[in-house]
């Protein structure tokens, strides 16, 4: 349990760092997938079974494939994963933010039971309770999320298709 936590968090943080320093954009994408998988393992150690599977399906599956598509559909663009001029202030800001969060997390006097560890507290199975909550108390947010997904779908289609329509009309004009 303890060893698993440290191994998984090491995998997650190290591959996130490799996303930052990898020279090739596709390599950095591969390390991003590894980081997502490590994060799914951390979710499992928190006994969040449904969320861990959803993380693997959505993040490590769909979103990474979308990113591979976006890289492959921009063939002439640079793939060197370069940094902009703001890398020093960004690194300082990120380091400051991470150390601030870590300091607050360690320094805060959490409830004493939160230091008792995971093994001594039981936790219910999550999937059926999540389903009950989504279709019960949070039904409005659930519906709004479905509308959001619908608009994202339509928006993505419209955004990418607009150029083809104009070019086709230009072709007809040329003909």
């Amino acid at each position: 349990m303890v060893l698993g936590f440290f191994a998984l968090s090491g995998i997650t943080v190290l591959s996130a760092l490799l996303v930052l320093v990898a020279r090739n954009l596709l390599h950095s994408l591969a390390f991003l997938v590894l980081s997502f998988l490590g994060m799914a393992g951390l979710f499992i150690t928190l006994s969040a079974d449904f969320i861990a599977v959803a993380q693997i399906l959505i993040y490590a599956g769909s979103i990474s494939v979308l990113m591979v598509f976006a890289v492959m559909l921009t063939p002439l663009a640079s793939r060197d994963n370069g940094n902009s001029l703001y890398v020093i202030p960004a690194a300082l800001g990120g380091l400051g933010l991470a150390s601030l969060i870590g300091f607050v997390a360690i320094d805060t006097d959490w409830d004493e039971r939160s230091t008792r560890g995971l093994a001594e507290t039981d936790f219910p199975a999550t999937s059926n309770v999540i389903g009950d909550l989504l279709l019960g108390r949070y039904i409005l947010a659930f519906e709004i999320a479905s509308v959001l997904l619908l608009f994202a779908l339509l928006g993505a289609i419209v955004l990418v298709q607009e150029r083809q329509r104009t070019s086709r009309s230009q072709d007809e004009g040329d003909a």
Binding site: F5, I51, A54, Q55, T74, S84, W110, T115, A156, V160
Partner: protein, 118 residues
């Protein structure tokens, strides 16, 4: 004064451990999102930040079940489901915008997309 390193079986993983990992991943995500030139790489940083927030929510949910007032710890999981939904929608739109940008300008380099720069 070097603090003594405890043995492995004496360590209990607490809430602070998860929050520290989450803070580290969030900081790396901030650096990636702020310092990369490629639009897809910036999106990778944003996804890392969302992942770190998910880890925070799940850790609080898990450990709040040990709190006296934690009646319904699964509410954190429902939050994470919504974050996943919004992240998927945002990734679809942002990558469509990157492809559209490439079709119009032949680049996804954010330093060269400066039409609205003052």
């Amino acid at each position: 004064m070097i603090p003594e390193i405890p043995a492995l079986d004496e360590i209990t993983i607490t809430l602070a451990h998860y929050l520290a990992v989450s803070g580290a991943v969030f900081g790396i995500g901030v650096v990636v999102a702020l310092s990369k030139r490629n639009a897809v790489a910036v999106l990778m940083g944003i996804e890392l930040m969302l992942n770190a927030v998910n880890l925070t929510l799940l850790a609080f949910s898990r450990f709040s079940s040990a709190f006296p007032a934690g009646e319904e710890p699964i509410a954190g999981h429902v939050f994470v489901v919504f974050v996943l939904t919004v992240a998927a929608a945002e990734a679809a739109i942002a990558l469509a915008m990157a492809v559209l940008l490439y079709q119009r300008r032949e680049t996804v380099d954010l330093d060269r997309v400066n039409l609205m720069r003052w």
